[in-house]
């Protein structure tokens, strides 16, 4: 099934949210979950504007991870068709619809953390040396809505070591109080490059803390 059809079916079933995006129909519109006064919002009709809007948070920080709970407010997209809606969503949350579709159909390719870290090279090759406890601490300090990202983690540390219970490991990929009947969950099939960079730092810190 095409992504357009998947999105259309989702909307027909009453889904109206993904990440911090609220989707309205008839006519098709998209705005920030926390904005309610549509009259006060800046109108956008070009999906490509989403790239610029999602670059920085309201306090000027660069949003390295697009799943960060820091999307700017104050905008309203008025869209012509489902293709434009898909494009806009993909610019705010790259590949989020395709990953959800693959997750639903059981075809998503999950990469456990150790596989991701073990294939790093160059200056990031030492990330693989981070301890198991270190990886758990990283998940709890980087992932989940209180930290950097609002995606549901699908991966484990490795095939024998699941994530320790935490807000991050329990998070369902849906912002706020909605559930899967009205919101498309965002899913994470492998740790991102931000995580890899932090794993490298932690690995270095662990090495420096080791007794001589």
């Amino acid at each position: 099934m095409s992504l357009n059809q998947t999105l259309t079916d989702a909307l027909n079933r009453g889904m109206s949210q993904i990440g911090q995006l609220r989707i309205l129909q008839n006519p098709l519109r998209l705005h920030h979950l926390d904005d309610s006064d549509l009259e006060a919002l800046e109108i956008h009709t070009d999906p490509d504007d989403a790239r610029e809007i999602s670059l920085y948070s309201d306090d000027g920080n660069y949003r390295f991870t697009k799943g960060e709970l820091s999307l700017k407010r104050g905008w309203l997209f008025q869209l012509e068709n489902i293709e434009d809606l898909q494009r806009t969503i993909d610019l705010f949350y790259p590949a989020s619809l395709g990953l959800w579709q693959a997750h639903q159909s059981g075809t998503i390719r999950i990469q456990n953390l150790r596989e991701k870290l073990n294939r790093q090279s160059g200056m990031y090759r030492h990330a693989r040396n981070v301890s198991d406890q270190g990886t758990q601490e990283l998940v709890q300090s980087l992932c989940g809505p209180s930290n950097k990202c609002v995606k549901k983690i699908l991966w484990s540390i490795d095939k024998h070591l699941p994530l320790e219970d935490s807000e991050a490991s329990r998070f369902n990929g849906i912002v706020g109080e909605a559930d899967e009947s009205t919101a498309i969950p965002m899913v994470c099939q492998e740790a991102c490059n931000f995580f890899v960079a932090e794993a490298r730092k932690k690995s270095k810190a662990e090495f420096e803390d080791k007794p001589a």
Binding site: P94, G98, I108, R109, Q111, R119, E190
Partner: protein, 220 residues
Amino acid sequence: MREALYMIEAEEIYVVPDFISEGYFTQEVIPRELELTGPTTRIHGKTIHYCDPVGVHPSMTSLILKRTDEVAPGVPQEESTLFIVGHGTGLNKNSTKAIKDQVSHIKTLPNCRFAEVFDTYMEEPPFIADWAKMATTPNVIVVPFFIADGLHSYQDIPIMLGFEKEEGQAASQKEVFRNNPYALHNKTLYYSAAIGTEAMMADVILDQISSFDANHSAPS
């Protein structure tokens, strides 16, 4: 990068590295992350063609020359020296090769009237910091051979050229690129934005795809 396949519904994909030259990222990191096994890879129901990076395509020459016209409109080429600036690194000779190839190509163009064209670098000779000794013309045009503007083109190269001070704040794009020309060492210097910011880069990307098809077409 592995997420990208989930948002693409086309069966056939061309990957064009937006990099200035071949190197560690184009030869190791990108193929690893996209699980490529050669020029064409069939994986996860897709056919992926891996093209050369944009920086090595001959059509980059047009971008460089367009930049010189934009940054120094009406300035006679016969009275100008063109400097193309790269990073320069001992780690990979491919990056300097891309710039040397551009210089060689520009010099052979029948309509090239620059008095001199030099390849220069931030971290290896010939150093861009020595531009005033190398240029014998009254006008100098400097084009950073980088994919994007950043610390090198905003701060490092302006310091090496001499119109920004080391202890100053990092220059914003507005200040660095809109204060042309600069009067330095009895010459007039024009400093352009990084070559990768040129809108025609879109054409170079398409050119690399055409080159891929031309080089990998099945024999008839």
